[in-house]
Amino acid sequence: MAQPLVKKDDDRDDEADYSPFLGIEKGAVLQEARVFNDPQLDARRCSQVITKLLYLLNQGESFTKVEATEVFFAVTKLFQSRDLGLRRMVYLMIKELSPCADEVIIVTSSLMKDMNSKTDMYRANAIRVLCRITDGTLLTQIERYLKQAIVDKNPVVASAALVSGIHILQTNPEIVKRWSNEVQEAVQSRAALVQFHALALLHQIRQNDRLAVSKLVTSLTRGSVRSPLAQCLLIRYTSQVIREAGNNTQAGDRPFFDFLESCLRHKSEMVIFEAAKAITELNGVTSRELTPAITVLQLFLSSSKPVLRFAAVRTLNKVAMTHPMAVTNCNIDMESLISDQNRSIATLAITTLLKTGNESSVERLMKQITNFMSDIADEFKIVVVEAIRSLCLKFPLKYRSLMNFLSSILREEGGFEYKKAIVDSIVILIRDIPDAKESGLLHLCEFIEDCEFTYLSTQILHFLGVEGPKTSDPSKYIRYIYNRVHLENATVRASAVSTLAGFGAAVDALKPRIFVLLRRCLFDSDDEVRDRATLYLNTLGGDGLGTENDRKDFLFGSLDVPLVNLETSLKNYEPSEEAFDINSVPKEVKSQPLAEKKAPGKKPTGLGAPPSGPPSTADSYERLLLSIPEFANFGKLFKSSAPVELTEAETEYAVNVVKHIFDRHIVFQYNCTNTIPEQLLEDVNVIVDASEAEEFSELFSKPLRSLPYDSPGQTFVAFEKPEGLPTTGKFSNTLKFIVKEVDPTTGEAEDDGVEDEYQLEDLEVVSADYIVKVGVSNFRNAWESMGPDCERVDEYGLGARESLAEAVNTVINLLGLQPCEGTEAVPPNSRSHTCLLSGVFIGNVKVLVRLSFGLDGPKDVAMKLSVRSDDETVSDAIHEIVASG
């Protein structure tokens, strides 16, 4: 950029935009800088020129190396002048130019002279400049002066030395560490800011010495710290000490926590807030400890200062994630913040309320949010939409008002990300709340009538094609879809054609009418649209090959080979006489233990996920198993467990196992990965010893022919087990294989291999493996309709537990059922809790469980377990699980 910004204003509006730097040019200013060399220095003039140079730098102008050196040397001449104002500008200029090492030497002596000057301002500034530009070698020379400066009676000088010390500590810690005594003395300084800087430096010097930090904090929390800033630092150090001490300080005397609490009564708001924030961020903070902090934050909520309101609501928002009950007291103040001028505050207030709100307040909140949505930025809107989505899943009964809200904001203006967030939310609600399906689909239909985003339109059309035919009256969606064929671009038209065909294939009554529509598409201007229409018409309408089911499967069934494998196979395929054979594509899925570990139990969200996207893991397992003829007669797959690692991370062979439960069989799928490039494994098999699982008998195993480096493969072992019973047992596993050395240069394996074994960890089949998590939207209705016929109630003592929440979690995990209506969350410090669970037991028996927990004595947990199901043996089985767990 040759010309500074101001220059542009030149021809636009001279009068209004008058600036002393109007028309300034680097070349001219550099010329002007020659006055620095005058024998008779004009201090005023020189100051002006330096200001101009600084202005240029500040506007983003850069000097070439030569220019910078020239200016630097010229500026050093100005040390001759005794004008204080000019000297200050010289200091600034030197810092901005950040000279290189050999240039620094030129000014060192001048700066050292200033460091010993009688003028305080010289001393302070010279220290800051010198420490900024110097490197380690010079430090030893000036160290003596710096130590002196730290205890200088002028606070500005002392602060300058201390702050410089903090900077130098990053590069030359061993030097600064020698100043401990002086810094310690400065901590006792009467000047507020000196104490702050000294404390910061002393802590950094000692930060790796826990005991020293603890001592420092102890001594200062008793004494008086003068400035609010230093007090804030002390609070940070105190909470660090508390964090590092862990749980040892639980009982009795807790001086550190008491100090934090006392800071809540400090006169400075800065300190009060710092303390409140520190308390809310403590690990394992209890409700009682939280209360005083929440109270001061609540006061801040009604402050006239936006910054205070923002700080308070942001902290409370974080607290609401872990302790929603603790924040409910602030709900009234929060609600008044929804209309806050500052939209960041309003959004934080809304999302906090959505987290802490109960079922009865949902409608009122929705009303308030509707008024406010129109005037916030898209990124805030996305936050709100996400909060509403999770609220809806928490209170499924309220889906109507939440769905209405989503559809109304969907109609308003908004960018792609925002619209996508809304559509994703509606899709999730449709999937998780069956009652919401029809209205949700209609909202989506209305949305694509007027949707400017091709991506969203095609995704919604696909989703409609999957979900629409399953509704009670599929015909009402046709109009919306066919409109797309008229009004949209080719991409959307093509996917609308596919959706129409989907309806035609799934609903026989609609078929003739759909064919009429599809025939019209044969005249479309776009190839793809015409092709699709022709394909669908001919396959669905003609009496062509195969049965009707075959044809539907061909058109709409999912591809039974993984896309990745298909892609590699197609790439390797060389055009020849021989046609590409899809059966040659390997069907075995590359296991992705990493990806699965990253998102444990996380539901796939949005449109990109099933059912419209790639098949879910359950689907892909099922297809994988069906593709193996030996398993074909096992019947329907009941459940597949999450992968269980059987090896430590980073061993030679990585193996995890997935348990597939069938009615009378169980199949272990061992996903093996060979992590040694120099080896090829062949005939890989897992030898399973079932001596501790008597009720299981091994049927057969399916070895893996070869396992090259870094290309995962599967081997299977199948067992027979008693029908419909949750049989448990323990299995020990050994990996058996033939190792062949691979020549790293050619990649070819040797002919001879050696047999080898590799011990894997044991595997257990537990009762929870026989239960599928299935939520119910209204537990009470489901419970009552189930009736008390097969109810089994009993009480259990769980003994001493860490906390109620821990006990609840243990039982949920033991049973492997789906918690309903958010009852898995235990409010802190409650003495009793009721948890609702639901699921499906093997044999497709629906099970509902009501767990009531109570604290008996200080730590002992007692539990009442009521089970309802359609089959009393299943109810008994659930009790057995708990009794034996």
């Binding site: 200001t51 500040n58 702050v163 903090i166 900077h167 807030f273 924030k277 006239s304």
Partner: protein, 180 residues
């Protein structure tokens, strides 16, 4: 994390005009390594805050994981940026200190023209508030005094005089409120 026992730190201080152009800026962090990234940040912050009313009280917002405290006077926009786990009130005190000092230095004529004409004072002022991200001083009058202290020894105490005047006005104001 700032609350992990770290010293409070300032990422930048910006003084922009009513069109979002630089009057004076100072960056203390490496988050914006090039001039272009700095300009982009300034433009972003300016446009995001433009429509808010930050004239009576300092306002605050969270943008790209930074907390930004800002205040507008006439055609000048003051900003202080810190990390997203920084204590908002500490950042606000820095902004207040900067603002008070500038008000004193510009003899209460806080506008762009006056600021540019006294750019040397503004730059010195920035230099006295924060050093390499560490807060040096947050008390406005003290900052202003440090900036103008060279005139204590020099023979042209023009700005010092106005500072004394400012002090006198402040004192007068205080007595009046006390007597009320």
């Amino acid at each position: 994390m700032a609350s992990n026992g770290q010293c409070p730190s300032i990422k930048n201080i910006l003084l922009l005009d009513s069109e979002g152009k630089r009057v004076a800026v100072k960056y203390y962090s490496d988050d914006w390594p090039t001039n272009n990234s700095k300009l982009a940040f300034e433009k972003f912050v300016f446009s995001k805050t433009l429509k808010t009313n930050a004239r009576t009280e300092a306002e605050v917002t969270l943008l790209e994981n930074n907390i930004i405290i800002y205040k507008f006077v006439q055609d000048l926009h003051f900003f202080v940026t810190g990390g997203d786990d920084e204590n908002e009130l500490i950042l606000a005190s820095v902004l207040q200190g900067f603002f008070d000092a500038v008000t004193l230095l510009l003899r209460s004529n806080v506008d762009k023209r006056e600021a540019l004409e006294n750019l040397d004072l503004i730059l010195l002022c920035l230099d006295e508030i924060v050093d390499g991200g560490i807060i040096l001083e947050t008390n406005g009058p003290l900052i202003a005094e440090k900036v103008t202290s060279h005139s204590l020894d020099a023979d042209a105490p023009l700005s010092e005089q106005t500072l004394t005047q400012a002090w006198a006005t402040a004192r007068e104001h205080l007595t009046r409120t006390l007597l009320k």
